[in-house]
Assembly symmetry: C2
Homo-oligomer: 339 residues x 2
């Protein structure tokens, strides 16, 4: 099968590899309908995270091709959505809604999801079937649910977004943009997207942003304060993961407000005293997408949301390297790969 | 009047000073019934925080002696409880329950509460009157409500303590001990106090602790995990404020659980990546004691709780220096000063 492998930073190739097979009785094998490149794939691509001949990808939708003997919740032929960690969905941590921290957590797709086929561990706890075979135009949105929508949604939930609240969104990548969508769905009064790119500003407005702040850092914080009577946002979504973005999020939030952070932290050290006196709530981490999948699939199926709009470039998998380049150079927000 | 002044680290004296007078129409002057020494007073006493001829004290109960022309909610003769910040209790931040971050926040007692009299700014928003003149044996408990009980209570609320939950408490000072009391009142199933001092262990058990863990740091975390099926506590109260105690609290908490931290952060830097992958909720800061005062005063008045037991040494104010020494040397948990 064709599969994307990152040989080294900046060196992405499409190899012909072995199709995965059932290893554990709880596994399922999927034939993927589509896959995509994640903003987090840029960390190794840029050399920030180590990488060496790594099969890539952790976002997927597809059809169940084969199931292990213990699998009961999905059947061969089902169209399913999973996410970037596999979980049993029965342990205490899963039952509390934190499936990405499942005590039996495993990688979400092996050897990687940027491939024609993938093995999904703990299929019963990980995969959620759609009501039927989706119309082709729904596939990008279902694929978005696999990570970026689920992650943006979790950020909004972690930030306690809701009616009557003003939400600030730090980060205008796919996750931040879908955080805007989530904030709108969750009933926020006002949604301030922080972005300096005209195309992303336009998409943010389309997804529900009521205000755009172009400034960053302290100037961005000052602008958020200006827009909120000097107090700061009630809820802030952080979708970048750097020291600057975390401090921007914390400082943009009023005392007693909530920061939901989902940008994978890179070289971040939070100053204890400032955090203490900020009085904010801080919650985040790897999003438990599985918690939200049934709800998100229903919203997509019923065509109430269209998160697939974050894909602004679609390429055949053979051109994966170009997809990585386009995202690295910010020519594309998010790249969908087809087979 | 007699007032405690810290001339320099380790140098505490009782001076004869001017009685405060009304400055703003929103002020009240209190004749204090009792005051006390706070664990946080040890930071300057030990030289960790700078100090130079500082009037000390921020915990108080007493009788209203005089009110400014704009004060309406308390009357001369009322017995009242306040806390360590004055707040208007009408701004959006106060209304959200975060009075310690009030947009008009001022010091809670001027020039300091370890004195016979104090000026309380924003008296209407800051002071809560008791139902009548308290029996003398209630005064220590009402004084505890002014800070350590309110702070321990906030920590428990911030840690989302409740029925069905296991709570770990890091710190066996007065705040940690009253965090135990709060956890019990809030219905926790199991309360694990982390303490290596026999007297404090005994008091923790009396206040509601079901388990004691003597180990600290990684060993303490491992013990909490052992006691919680490998998962960690649902809710952890952090009442120290050091790097070690914060990490102990975060690591002792299960993914999706809550850390309520109220130890004033000193030289703490939280590692972003570890925090991210921990999946915990983090909330804390200077406790909005004012939010809880009506409820706490009622519980004390009705003799449902007796937080005054944390005072294990009572001295006349003239012996304040001995009180500081006793707390510094951990011979006393908390010292009450009388006039």
């Amino acid at each position: 099968m064709r599969a994307v492998v990152m040989y080294a930073p900046g060196d992405v190739r499409v190899d012909e590899t072995e199709r995965p097979t059932i290893v554990e009785p709880t596994d399922a094998i999927l034939k993927l309908a589509a896959t995509c490149i994640c903003g987090s794939d840029l960390w190794p691509y840029r050399g920030t995270d180590a990488v060496d001949h790594q099969p890539m990808g952790h976002e997927y939708v597809g059809v169940v091709e084969e199931i292990g003997s213990a699998v009961q919740n999905v059947q061969v032929g089902d169209f399913v959505v999973g996410s970037f960690f596999a979980s049993d969905n029965t342990c205490d941590i899963c039952l509390a809604g934190y499936q990405t921290h499942c005590v039996h957590r495993q990688p979400g797709a092996l050897p990687g999801a940027q491939a024609e086929y993938a093995r999904i561990p703990l299929a019963d706890g990980t995969l959620v079937a759609t009501p039927g075979t989706p119309d082709p135009d729904l596939i990008p949105s279902l694929l978005a649910a696999s990570d970026v929508l689920g992650t943006g949604w979790f950020a909004a939930v972690a930030a306690e977004v809701g009616p009557g609240k003003t939400v600030a969104v730090v980060g205008d990548g796919a996750v931040g943009l879908l955080g805007v969508l989530a904030a709108k769905q969750l009933g926020a009064d006002r949604i301030i997207a922080m972005s300096r790119h005209a195309d992303r500003q336009a998409l943010a407005r389309e997804l529900g942003a009521t205000d755009i702040v172009e400034e960053r850092g302290d100037a961005g914080v000052a602008r958020i304060k200006e827009l909120t009577g000097g107090l700061g946002a009630h809820s802030t979504i952080e979708a970048v993961g750097t020291q600057e973005s975390m401090m921007q999020a914390i400082r943009a939030t009023r005392a007693g407000g909530h920061v939901g952070y989902v940008g994978v932290s890179h070289n971040v050290a939070l100053p204890g005293q400032e955090l203490f006196f900020s009085g904010v709530h801080l919650h985040g981490g790897p999003a438990p997408v599985r918690r939200f999948l049934p709800e998100l699939i229903k919203l997509i199926w019923d065509r109430q949301i269209d998160p697939g709009t974050v894909f602004d470039l679609t390429l055949p998998i053979e051109q994966a390297a170009e997809g990585y380049r386009a995202m690295d150079e910010r020519r594309a927000t998010k790249v969908l790969l087809t087979f």
